[in-house]
Symmetry: C2
Amino acid sequence: MSQKIDFSNWTCPLPLRDQPNVVMGHGGGGKLSAELVENIFLPAFANNTLVKLADSAVLDLNGAMTDGARLAFSTDSFVVKPLFFPGGNIGDLAINGTVNDVAMSGAQPLFLSAGFILEEGLAMDALGRIANTMGAAAKAAGVTLVTGDTKVVNKGHGDGVYINTSGIGVIPVGVNIAPHQARPGDVVIVSGEIGLHGTAIMSVREGLEFETVIETDCAPLNGLVAAMLDVTKDIHILRDPTRGGVASALNEIAKASGVGIVLSENKLPIPSAVRSACELLGLDPLYVANEGKLLAIVPREFADEILAKLQTQKFGERATIIGEVTAQHPNMVVAKTGIGGTRVVDMMIGEQLPRIC
Amino acid sequence: MSQKIDFSNWTCPLPLRDQPNVVMGHGGGGKLSAELVENIFLPAFANNTLVKLADSAVLDLNGAMTDGARLAFSTDSFVVKPLFFPGGNIGDLAINGTVNDVAMSGAQPLFLSAGFILEEGLAMDALGRIANTMGAAAKAAGVTLVTGDTKVVNKGHGDGVYINTSGIGVIPVGVNIAPHQARPGDVVIVSGEIGLHGTAIMSVREGLEFETVIETDCAPLNGLVAAMLDVTKDIHILRDPTRGGVASALNEIAKASGVGIVLSENKLPIPSAVRSACELLGLDPLYVANEGKLLAIVPREFADEILAKLQTQKFGERATIIGEVTAQHPNMVVAKTGIGGTRVVDMMIGEQLPRIC
């Protein structure tokens, strides 16, 4: 393992709060991001759907849907740097990112839009590779790219290409998944190993070399969701822990549901390469982004069956139970350590890894 | 009128084709944009809905909509420079742009998403003003912003803020508006004066000062569409002539429908301030972007009634008939000049005005 971190490009991971200007941490998915939403966007756009702050909006289209069906609608912009990285590029990230946001409402994702902001000078060859990757990822996820838009910005602005994808899908009748539904006694499942995407990006960006190349886990999760719903429609919460990682996603769930969450630290599936990279980079794998994993909060009585079903699926083979929901310490996530102690797993303030998705 | 054009920042309006790299013209809404879509995106994303290349995708959601209703789904990214300009800012542009794209399918726009790409260092105050403008514009258009996303990119990348909005709306039963439906004998209506948005942006960017400040015409057009559909559901085509202007929109319609279009040049509603600014800037108002105007291709028997109805509406007071559809010279748009001649109105190749929306 060689160590070649370039600190000249380092971004402060914990920018000061109450800034009069936007700082990198406002895009990190942690507390600063939440403050921006709460103080700027929610007051300006106030309405009951947005206030729920789920990955997708859930809409009944004012009666234009067949009885009981609802539409999930979600959007995500991708500004990852570099554009190409081990295991993928910005193209499959943009497809799977929105497929997964839509799927986390329990919906079957159906259609995506793609908005490209290209930087003058971008190689057509690179754009072609990204577009082909998007087409293949859409096909693999079973969604169709139906509408798009392209803008070009001057050389030096942008970073080659930014992509926004928005997605819509149909939520089956009887499915009701939402961030406030965690109940004491529920079980916390993660669908596989965590920390891969963020450390893959950071390793290539900082020029770190490991014996095993860490690749992004970028993958579509709608198949896992459909498999879980085959077991029972009574799934309380689904979340894909992207920016901010498992820790931030669980903190948001704890706060939205007014419950506590207890993780068993020794059950967290952290690959040894991720652990090594995180030690070197000074990161905590619990805060590192994933792009092909989901967290499920499920009733205890269905947990074993759901887990077994997940493990039959390609992207869920290493699914495991990592914790439980408790009535104690509401709004707080704690981890039981291997030596019998307990530590608070707080929400990140700014970001550990800038520009990862 | 003072003239202070800074040619050092001038962007070549006609970049060479067959470039190995992206040039500004690929975002201009003209031939280069079309080539990018045809050669890169369509092959990668191939499917029947995308191939239609309308402003919105029209979807039946695989049977999840009530009988006969269909969903319109559209996306647009906004990269305008400067962010604030006479009559508006990037915020109302982002709302009305997507409201209008959805409305051009005949749909009632209902819900929008907003994806922000913020540049590190952007003043919170500016972001707050933009967000408030978006909230007010959404309210004025009768749509709800239901889901969003925020990313931050490093200082020097981006231009303060880029905004993507995607929108969905419901197309009433019996409405069937699509780019290929122009028929010989149809009448071409424009809902008001043209050329305002593009010249407003360009004037402020180049420091031009006129006796009357030219303001953007940015406005929501869904009210006009609803009013027209009150007259008849038999409207053949609707288009909002944004990037590329009236000329490019009509060229796309002529090609999609395999018909010719004849404009009467002396009937084009071009404000004198726009005409002056265009002369100074060397632009043709037919190619300048509008953000609050629509083109309607309607059957001759309904033209007068539709026109009268439009003129009762706030954003349609100056609606007028500007031309007709003909079986002659298919795929081509021509203008009859005031002195009895005829000139070809070709599609723009690159762009006249970079970064206008």
